[in-house]
């Protein structure tokens, strides 16, 4: 989830208060929406200490409240959109590629591997977590992942066992952008050097069993949307195939419209999912967008509610709580109502249709059925 876009839409305090700014979190007084948590009535009482050092300090309180509010808002938006919209693309976690084959692939060029393209789903996130493979001999296979502009994205070494499926977990899962910088479907190349690698077995992206959709790699082929079989849901997200080349110029290779159905011995473990929060905030906050502004206001109220509740219910006394607990209870209840009013609005007005994950529910009228 793109929590930062949501979280950073509001600031913590528009001054060097609640107390000294020496230990304030970075960007505490930056707010593209112009809203600050400590500006809410009742929370200005957080001011007045000589020092803000130590655990439980007001900066930590404000910062944690804003982070928790952002997570809750993202979750509530997801629920609201699921209520109001129809899911068009199923999430997928699993392997792309078979685990075994009874024949090897004969490679004739210097480099080979798997080429894959991601469906340009604006609200999609595809994460590569693990790389697997089957080779004819036991060996260490050095792999490098490039994008179509020849940028090296990651390296990994697969300890292959002869004729058996092996895998390597990446040190850090890699979030792969679904679009390149031109807004087109992003392509990636997972490469090994042929001379240093045992012969790969002829595993395919799919055996085709139980899958009635086209899994071939053909540039321009439309990605099928909702796929009933969860095991085949990756086809909505990824097109993969094999390639070989005598150079590492992928800008040229990425123009080749097709790839082999065999992936040159490699398999990919991916998590592909929709991030519906992008329907309310994606990339940079834009104050000109009504959806962004309403989202920031919702976050403002929810952050205030969490601060008020933490103050009210903490056994660790703070002046604002000791002095003002009745008012804080009333404000908390009021802010919660304000928050859910905005969540309702966002559930209806968030721009989710172009994101590639949800669409408006299709309703059939009686008149249409009868006709």
């Amino acid at each position: 989830m793109d929590i930062n876009c949501i979280k950073n839409s509001i600031g913590l305090a528009n001054c060097a208060c609640p107390c000294l700014a020496s230990n304030a979190p970075e960007g505490y007084n930056t707010s593209p929406s112009g809203l600050f948590v400590a500006d809410l009535p009742g929370l200005d009482m957080l001011a007045g200490w000589e020092s803000c050092e130590g655990p439980g300090n007001p900066w930590a309180l404000l910062n944690e409240a804003r982070a928790q509010a952002a997570i809750k808002l993202a979750s509530d938006i997801g629920v609201k959109l699921a209520e109001n919209k129809a899911v068009v693309r199923r999430n997928y976690t699993g392997w792309i590629g078979e685990r075994a084959s009874n024949r090897t692939v004969s490679l004739s060029k210097a480099y080979a591997g798997t080429r894959f393209e991601l469906a340009p789903v604006e609200h999609g996130i595809v994460t590569l977590k693990e790389i697997g493979g089957v080779f004819a001999s036991t060996a260490a296979v050095d792999l490098t992942l490039y994008d179509a502009e020849n940028n090296e994205i990651a390296t990994a070494t697969l300890s292959a066992t002869a004729n058996r499926f092996s895998s390597v977990t990446l040190e850090e899962p890699i979030n792969l952008p679904t679009r390149d910088r031109f807004g087109n479907a992003a392509q990636y190349f997972l490469v090994y050097t042929v001379a240093d690698t045992p012969a790969p077995l002829a595993i395919r992206t799919s055996c085709g069993c139980g899958i009635s959709v086209d899994t071939s790699f053909r540039l321009g082929r439309p990605y099928p949307q909702y796929i009933g079989n969860p095991a085949a849901a990756w086809v909505s997200w990824v097109m993969a195939g094999g390639f070989q080349s005598d150079n590492l110029d992928f800008s040229e290779l990425s123009q080749t419209t097709s790839a082999t159905s065999e992936t040159n011995g490699l398999a990919l473990h991916i998590v592909a999912e929709c991030d519906v929060t992008k329907a309310v905030c994606s990339g940079e906050y834009d104050n000109a967008e009504a959806v962004n502004r309403v989202m920031a206001t919702a976050l403002h109220f929810q952050s205030g509610k969490i601060v008020a509740d933490k103050l009210r219910l903490s056994t660790s006394p703070q002046r604002a709580m000791v002095v003002n607990r009745a008012d804080l209870a009333e404000l908390s209840a009021k802010w919660e109502v304000e928050y859910y009013t905005r969540i309702e609005w966002l559930g209806t007005n968030a721009k989710s249709e172009n994101g590639g994950c949800v669409e408006c529910r299709k309703t059939l009228s009686v008149q249409r059925i009868l006709a």
Binding site: P58, P317, R319, V322, R325
Partner: protein, 186 residues
């Protein structure tokens, strides 16, 4: 007014020599709240700010003063002698204090005992402070105030609340220096 001035001097002395006291309030006023009265006082050193004397885990120690009425003991043609019982309330946050907690408390008591009043520029011409003892510690220290002990645990570790009594005897001159006016501060 006189008791207020005495308590401000006591609060200033505590603030001056007890660095562990982060909030040193003078004589409190009972401010009505939804659940009852809350203590409010001006704070040292300048007494320009008024604050709620509410326990707060961001503070290391809070003190304030409460008082009974002053009682005239004797008088002559130029001076009246009074006594007033002062109650010093101490709230300590041991998470923010280093060293022995008793020293933290005792240094506050000693600061109060050691105060010297300005007898040249004020009508107070002499004063003596006598420490008359400690009250039972615990929630009853805040009995007068609408704090929510059940929720806030203001008197349980790491916090400590104590009340100490002092008798202040002072001589008040029957004359006073003339007072002018000034342009109010913006």
């Amino acid at each position: 007014m006189i008791i207020n001035a005495i308590c401000r001097a006591l609060a200033d002395k505590v603030k001056e020599i007890c660095p562990h006291v982060s909030l040193s309030g003078g004589l409190v006023t009972a401010m009505p709240g939804q659940y009852g009265a809350l203590p409010v006082a001006t704070v040292s050193p300048l007494h320009r700010d008024t604050k709620h004397m509410a326990p707060d885990n961001m503070e290391s120690a809070i003190i304030w003063f409460e008082s009974g009425p002053s009682i005239l003991k004797s008088s002559n043609s130029s001076i009246d002698l009074f006594t007033v019982d002062i109650r010093l309330v101490i709230w300590l946050n041991t998470n923010r204090i280093t060293g022995e907690i008793l020293n933290a408390e005792m240094s506050i008591i000693n600061a109060v005992r050691g105060v010297n009043f300005d007898t040249e520029n004020t009508p107070i011409k002499a004063a003596n402070i006598e420490y008359t003892g400690e009250e039972q510690e615990g929630p009853q220290v805040f009995q007068r105030w609408a704090f929510d002990e059940a929720q806030n645990h203001l008197t349980l570790p790491p916090y400590r609340a104590a009340a100490h009594r002092f008798r202040v005897s002072y001589a008040l001159a029957r004359c006073a220096d003339p007072v002018g006016t000034k342009i109010p501060l913006c």
